[in-house]
């Protein structure tokens, strides 16, 4: 018998403030001290395969690793066709596109201009061969992605799913600066991954909704993390011991929301 619902099992989070929710300041704007972008460093990953990979691809990989640590499982637990991957970003392709447009990048850089290559690298690294959806947009798209994962689980199309979001801004800082009236900073580079498994409670999805209190809390504490924001919200709720979370996301005038069950933290003995 297939459980009808979905549950957040773990969340891995890296932001320009550090790893996990413990690194988030109480007030992002004050903590940024006038800096428009809070960057994440390029992760150091070994292996010939990563020689050409872009910073944003590597951030996707380390976000999944952070999620595995939070879940207390190893990578074999997610390998195979039973794991779906939903990737969301508003802007993580910008750096690669700017590099390609500048005419300095080599031939083999071109595929990395596609937003789908970041999750492609993650899928290769962890052997994820299940359903695969890539959405472009801000936090509303991530909420839409969480909804899609609920459908995939309920329909038996996967056994578990990763919702991965990555946002980078540093390489396009000047462009974002032009649009600061639309997105008052700080823009905080982030990579986040939620592991969603089957559960007893079906997610409640609202394609249009009001902003949830958790969304305001995320903006206040983390700053602008765009597509990562709903996953930051899930990380905050999980850290607070909440067993459900109403997560919303607002982007280009639309707010969507989803209520999800959250698993308790694994008990270490």
């Amino acid at each position: 018998v297939r459980p009808p619902g979905a549950r957040v099992e773990a969340v891995g989070l890296l932001t320009g403030w550090g790893e996990g929710v413990a690194a988030l300041p109480d007030e992002a704007r004050a903590a940024a001290r006038g800096r428009g972008v809070m960057p994440l460093p390029r992760p150091t990953l070994n292996g010939e395969r990563f020689r050409r990979a872009t910073r944003e691809c590597l951030l996707g990989v380390v976000a999944v690793e952070a999620m595995l640590r939070d879940a207390g499982i190893d990578r074999e637990a997610i390998r195979g066709p039973g794991t779906a991957l939903v990737f969301v970003t508003a802007a993580a392709y910008g750096a690669s596109n700017v590099e390609w447009l500048a005419g300095q990048a080599g031939t083999l850089h071109f595929p990395y201009t596609a937003p789908s290559v970041l999750p492609g690298e993650v899928a290769i690294e962890f052997g994820l061969r299940g359903p695969y959806v890539i959405l472009i947009g801000g936090p509303t798209a991530t909420v839409d992605g969480l909804w899609q994962v609920g459908r995939l689980l309920a329909g038996g199309q996967c056994e578990r799913a990763l919702v991965l979001a990555v946002e980078t801004f540093a390489e396009c800082k000047a462009l974002w600066q032009r649009a600061r009236w639309a997105l008052p900073g700080p823009l905080v580079e982030s990579a986040a991954c939620a592991l969603i498994g089957p559960g007893d409670i079906a997610p409640a999805y609202h394609a249009t909704a009001a902003e949830a209190p958790l969304e305001r809390a995320v903006t206040a504490r983390a700053g602008r993390t765009l597509a990562c924001a709903p996953l930051v919200a899930l990380a905050l709720a999980r850290a607070a011991g909440s067993r459900t979370a109403l997560v919303s996301g607002t982007w280009r005038g639309r707010t969507s929301a989803i209520e999800l069950a959250i698993a308790g933290r694994p008990v270490l003995v």
Binding site: F110, G120, I136
Partner: protein, 375 residues
């Protein structure tokens, strides 16, 4: 639709049936430094799209105008969703933003979801607006997610499809990868040497069956998608992801592979894609492989990237409506590694009922749609 062989559905369909060639020398941007300067370029946009700054948005509006001439958006604006797939989004606007236009507006237009929001604004749709970017499989996943939005009750009508423009950004990339054919695009042909790119936009109006009003083209029975997890730019050597996507779509539609009457293949004309796709289809179709007609329309249009899967889905439904399957333009000499019935020469008088459309893209993306014609 807006395509290199026609700026509306009727012209597109008659062009496909006639075996039209929409590939020509590119005129809109410089190609002198590239190995290949040909593609499926739309030479003149329809009047409704003139004056729209972003070419991507202009193509979408051109397709939407054609759609609205055929179907009414008969729902409250907040119940109309827009979901489109794209490989390139507003990348040409990013180029302008970096080069000659320092405005904030142009910088925001460079985001990949900007054209979808421009389309929603033009349509007056105020429901969910989603952008899918599963590279060249985007248009298929967009249709699938659009159907999911309806099943969820998140919208009453969904304008779904895909688009992409032909621009120097992408031409330079595929040219550098040596993926472009110097001569004809020949899907599944022994002499195939690569693809040519094209630009297009294609949209369909999706509604729940009881809500559908007016003439309908067909039903979307199921969709599936899967990751290869093998290479960022090349398809899995055994087509495992594609096969998984096809089987997921068939399962979602509760359709047996034995009931398929026609397959619209991705069929890019590259050596690797066509061989791998043939093998995957052969495994799925079993002993009916070689009997079920399989075509590719990329020899006529070029590879229209984010628009391709939606155009191919529309082509399937028109084939079911009219009883004609368009030929695979450019296919002449069989390849032993590609041994299916590729509809050579001219269009074929067959009225398929249940159809499969397949798509692949960078990042190990695979997607499939199972469609049913309404006679």
């Amino acid at each position: 639709v807006a395509t290199p062989i026609g700026l509306d559905l009727d012209a597109f369909w008659s062009g496909l049936l006639a075996g039209a060639d929409g590939l020509s020398a590119i005129e809109r941007f410089a190609t002198a430094d590239l190995r290949v300067g040909r593609g499926g370029e739309i030479k003149k946009l329809p009047p409704v799209a003139l004056g729209i700054r972003s070419r991507a948005a202009a193509l979408l509006v051109a397709a939407a105008a054609d759609l609205r001439a055929r179907a009414r958006l008969d729902a409250a604006p907040e119940r109309v969703a827009v979901i489109v797939g794209t490989a390139l989004g507003g990348v040409e606007e990013l180029d302008h933003a970096l080069a000659d236009d320092r405005s904030a507006r142009r910088a925001l237009d460079g985001l990949y979801d900007s054209p979808a929001h421009a389309l929603a604004g033009w349509l007056g749709a105020r429901g969910p607006v989603l952008t899918v970017s599963s590279a060249c499989a985007s248009g298929a996943t967009a249709l699938g997610l659009g159907a999911d939005l309806l099943r969820e009750g998140a919208a009453d009508l969904v304008v779904a499809g895909g688009y992409d423009i032909l621009c120097r950004f992408v031409m330079r990339g595929f040219d550098a990868l040596r993926s472009l054919a110097r001569e004809r695009v020949r899907p599944f042909d022994r002499r195939r040497t690569g693809l040519l790119l094209g630009e297009a936009a294609a949209l369909v109006l999706l509604a729940r069956e009881p809500d559908a009003r007016g003439p309908r083209l067909g039903r979307l029975l199921g969709h599936g998608c899967a990751s290869d997890a093998s290479h960022v730019a090349a398809p899995d050597a055994e087509g495992r992801g594609l096969e998984a996507a096809i089987r997921a779509a068939l399962a979602a539609g509760d359709v047996d592979a034995a009931d398929l009457d026609f397959v619209s293949a991705h069929g890019t004309g590259t050596v690797l894609n066509d061989r791998i796709e043939t093998a995957a289809l052969r495994r799925v179709l079993g002993n009916r492989a070689g009997v079920v007609p399989v075509n590719s329309i990329k020899g006529a249009l070029g590879h229209t990237m984010g628009a391709a899967a939606t155009l191919e889905a529309i082509m399937c439904l028109l084939a079911g409506r009219d009883g004609w399957i368009p030929p695979t333009v450019g296919f002449e000499e069989p390849d032993p590694a590609c041994d299916l019935d590729y509809v050579p020469g001219t269009c074929r008088a067959v009225r398929p009922r249940r159809m499969l459309s397949t798509s692949l893209g960078f990042g190990g993306c695979n997607a499939a749609l199972v469609l049913e014609a309404i006679p």
